[in-house]
Symmetry: C2
Subunit: 248 residues, 2 copies
């Protein structure tokens, strides 16, 4: 299928090392992911249908329109989701990080493409089998509905951003989103990590790389942010960013 995913069935791994501990036990993102709602015995059932996939940076997890054969949890690395127009215009619809779930919209085909932004490790579930399991693990289904709800809320915020905000407001909003995520993941807040290129940011915000770059420079000159290094943004005046982001 997706030719650049290297796959390790967990079952295989287990048989190789016999009575090994559940691979879920030392999963770094178990508590942050959808798996957190499951008890040990339920987790074992879910693990039974999962395999681990590896991708290099830039690798394609799947393409828009492909039959949706797997859903995944991001274990390590980050992913960008995007849609394309025939002439190449691109809209990035989201970025995923460890613990995030890929494919909540349980459709027959993927509605967007997904590409690794760094070395990536994901925990993959065959869609059909996961859907079957949902009948027996209502807590998991409940959790997925919760995740879907969050995604809908985020999507509506993004529509407001794309439809009505200025370039400056978009960039300010974006930096605050990043900060919020870093907070949730208990990562360094200042400077905040910016693991994507200017082009990716532009395609996420409905702007060009040039406009993103100019807006960063402008915010820096205003003393609101600092740009200490590639892929880092220092948030100097969070209140100012909040005001700009909300259009106040």
């Amino acid at each position: 299928m997706a030719p650049n995913i290297v796959e390790f069935p967990l079952s295989q791994k287990r048989s190789a090392s016999a009575m090994v501990e559940s691979p879920c036990d030392d999963c770094a993102i178990r508590e942050a992911s959808v798996c957190s709602v499951l008890k040990q015995d339920e987790l074992i059932r879910l693990r039974g249908i999962s395999t681990i996939g590896h991708l290099e940076s830039g690798g394609t997890v799947f393409h828009e329109g492909d039959p949706a054969e797997h859903l995944s949890n991001v274990i390590e690395g980050s992913v960008k989701l995007y849609k394309l127009l025939p002439d190449g215009r691109r809209q990035v619809t989201g970025f995923l990080f460890p613990g995030d779930f890929l494919g909540v919209a349980l459709n027959e085909t993927y509605a967007y493409s997904a590409e690794a932004m760094s070395k990536l490790r994901i925990c993959r579930f065959p869609r059909r089998r996961l859907e079957g399991l949902l009948n027996e693990l209502p807590k998991l289904e409940h959790r997925l509905l919760e995740v879907a709800g969050n995604e809908i809320v985020a999507a509506q915020d993004q529509m407001l951003l794309l439809g009505r905000k200025t370039a400056r407001e978009r960039v300010a909003s974006f930096l605050l989103i990043l900060r919020r995520h870093a907070e949730q993941r208990r990562q360094q807040l200042n400077p905040v990590d910016l693991p994507m290129s200017r082009a990716d940011i532009g395609d996420y915000l409905g702007l060009t790389t040039e406009t993103v770059s100019r807006t960063f420079t402008q915010l820096r000159k205003d003393g609101i942010i600092g740009l200490p290094a590639q892929g880092k943004v220092d948030i100097r005046r969070r209140d100012a960013l909040e005001n700009i982001a909300e259009g106040a």
Copy 2:
């Protein structure tokens, strides 16, 4: 609560007319709504927590930020959902019609405002009690997840539209969305019904009323659509619209 909703508890109605048939029995949208997945006895349980709400055109169902006390099914009429920026800029995030579900994102507070675009009748469920029922009606939860998935897919399409499409492409896409919905609802396809104002369309597409109007005129002059009357659009060359919408 929401002061302009007139409410009729179904239980009250029942006691008034004793052994009356279930009000769900003659619900025009039962088969089109989330209720369609429930059997008779399950439907009765859901009915047990529902009330009917009435609003006049222009009435507010709820405001963004209000505690989310009810979820609803639209029975009759139509609704627009929108978010506001403090200075009044508005983004319409969706339009709802009979059979559509209002509030899939089961959050503590509403993430957007909802306003009746015509005389409106909705079937309302207290959120807490519905969430409780979900544990006992897994089919309903499954269906909600499905609905949420559809909403996510639609939201992503809208992000592509808002972030990357030109005014002409946005309007063409919008007309095709309307046509698709009319098709699903087995309504008249040509001319297709346009129950919202130019301002609402503009706020949905991230444009001004003037640009929407000019673009309609332009498409009319190109012989692609006709504008026979207020609130009607005749789709003359669907293929041309499809091409424009996809940016081809």
